[in-house]
């Protein structure tokens, strides 16, 4: 290496020598310890060779009869005149290349892209700490990867990933924020469980994970909508308070005892007006009731302090003793049984089918047992405590 550098640095020249007895000239060069190389015999009286520039003076001094002419400079000195001639142009060129190289490797802006101002600020500060900021040199791919990893390791609960993209003279930093869904407190965790046994007809799930589906038979206490949200691999991803409605076909029996003899009230068409005052403790009417049998209807007029005033209408009625025949009695008993069942149902619940199981007439009374199939809401929120996951050893 050193030899090569020395060779480049050595100022060599191609010399053209014109004169007689060139063989003697060469012999004498040897005697003067002048090394020559690449000797060319141009004419009978003209040769050229390459030698050190320092030898020229020695040759000129010793061979005054010969015409010695430097034909060319070798190595770096060959371009020296060109450099001197074009020094301004070359200086500008070098400066331009230098500036170009710098501009290609300098960052003028770091653009952090995220909707959250705090996250933007956080990442910007971290990047500045690692000297990723404006008017600094670009980092290598490996350095950027290391910086990204360090920031992610520092904020594992805030940052999901970072991407630093080099666009021209800017870095575009894209961030994905880590959103951790907090598992709810144990107190707020609940399942929807079956209050009664039956076949599920409809599930309205507002929150939670369905364990049963329509058509499934459930027993009392079975979980229908779970608060634990699990993956296919049975891993709990979230815990919520399950909410929703579960309708199922359930079966009831209603017993009614109906007297065959009954009293029927018939309005005669007579009616009277009256007033009633409700003091809160007792009710007092203004006029005495003048009908023997009557039906009374009250209509509220106004309230003054603790007193409420009612307009009362008395309808006179006649009472007739009647007796059901068996067909009528069964119909009435069934109607009363269904009414009894309907009282347990809300607007969304309904009777699906009914069947008289048993009927019996005894002591002027008809006893009837009715089997009723109803669609009823059976889901109920029940709090639960999550099971601790067993650590694998």
């Amino acid at each position: 290496m050193l030899n090569i550098i020395n060779h480049i640095k050595t100022h060599k020249v191609e010399v053209e020598v014109t004169g007689p007895f060139l063989n003697h000239f060469l012999i004498n060069l040897y005697r003067l310890h002048i090394n020559i190389n690449n000797v060319k015999y141009l004419k009978e009286d003209k040769i050229s060779f390459i030698t050190d520039y320092d030898n020229i003076e020695k040759i000129s001094a010793n061979f005054k009869d010969y015409k010695i002419k430097i034909k060319n400079h070798e190595g770096i000195y060959k371009i020296r005149p060109f450099i001197i001639r074009n020094k301004i142009f070359l200086s500008c060129l070098v400066l331009g290349l230098f500036l170009l190289a710098i501009s290609q490797n300098i960052i003028v802006k770091v653009d952090v892209i995220h909707s959250d101002k705090d996250i933007r600020q956080l990442v910007k500060e971290e990047l500045e700490y690692y000297h990723v900021k404006s008017l600094t040199f670009k980092k290598s791919y490996k350095q950027l990867q290391e910086i990204k990893q360090k920031i992610l390791d520092k904020y594992p609960d805030k940052l999901e990933w970072i991407e630093i993209e080099n666009v021209g003279m800017t870095y575009k930093v894209r961030i994905e924020q880590r959103i951790i869904t907090k598992i709810k407190d144990n107190n707020n965790l609940c399942n929807i469980v079956a209050q009664k046994s039956g076949i599920i007809t409809k599930i309205i799930n507002k929150q939670g994970m369905n364990i049963k589906t329509t058509g499934d038979y459930v027993s009392k206490g079975d979980i229908i909508i779970a608060g634990d949200i699990k993956t296919a691999e049975d891993e709990v991803k979230n815990r919520v308070c399950a909410t929703g409605e579960v309708y199922a076909e359930i079966w009831l029996t209603a017993n009614v005892s109906l007297p065959l003899n009954y009293k029927e009230k018939q309005k005669t068409g007579e009616k009277r007006w009256n007033f009633m005052i409700d003091t809160g403790k007792e009710k007092k009417i203004l006029l005495k009731n003048r009908f023997k049998n009557s039906i009374i209807k009250n209509k509220k007029l106004f309230k003054v302090g603790p007193f409420t005033f009612y307009k009362q209408t008395e309808y006179e009625v006649k009472i007739k003793n009647k007796k059901y025949n068996l067909e009528q009695a069964e119909k009435e008993a069934l109607s009363q049984a269904l009414s009894k069942v309907k009282m347990q149902l809300n607007d969304k619940e309904r009777i699906i089918t009914q069947k008289v199981l048993n009927k019996d007439v005894k002591n002027s009374k008809m006893k009837i047992e009715v089997f009723v199939s109803v669609e009823k809401q059976i889901g109920k929120q029940v709090n639960y405590v999550p099971q601790l996951e067993q650590e694998s050893s």
């Binding site: 050193l2 030899n3 063989n23 003697h24 060469l26 012999i27 060069l29 040897y30 310890h33 090394n35 020559i36 190389n37 690449n38 000797v39 015999y41």
Partner: protein, 76 residues
């Protein structure tokens, strides 16, 4: 570098003859030089090179490279 060179060329002299070249290392003097004859002095003998169109291509302090139609090399 010089040490390596001395080690490799650990000889009094050596002469390499090629088709159109002859290379002599460790010669002491160039006694005569013409297109047909070159006479070199070595430490223990003289070397006479005969040929046609002989010319010196390289002439350094210890080595010389000669080009031409080499006909005869004589040790005197």
């Amino acid at each position: 570098m010089e040490n390596i060179k001395s080690f490799l060329y650990d000889k009094d002299y050596f002469i390499s003859i090629f088709d159109k070249y002859i290379y002599v290392f460790n010669y002491l003097d160039l006694l005569h030089f013409s297109e047909t004859e070159i006479n070199l002095k070595l430490e223990k003998f003289k070397l006479l090179i005969n040929g046609q169109n002989l010319s010196i291509i390289k002439m350094m302090e210890k080595e010389i490279l000669i080009e031409g139609e080499i006909e005869k090399v004589t040790k005197c």
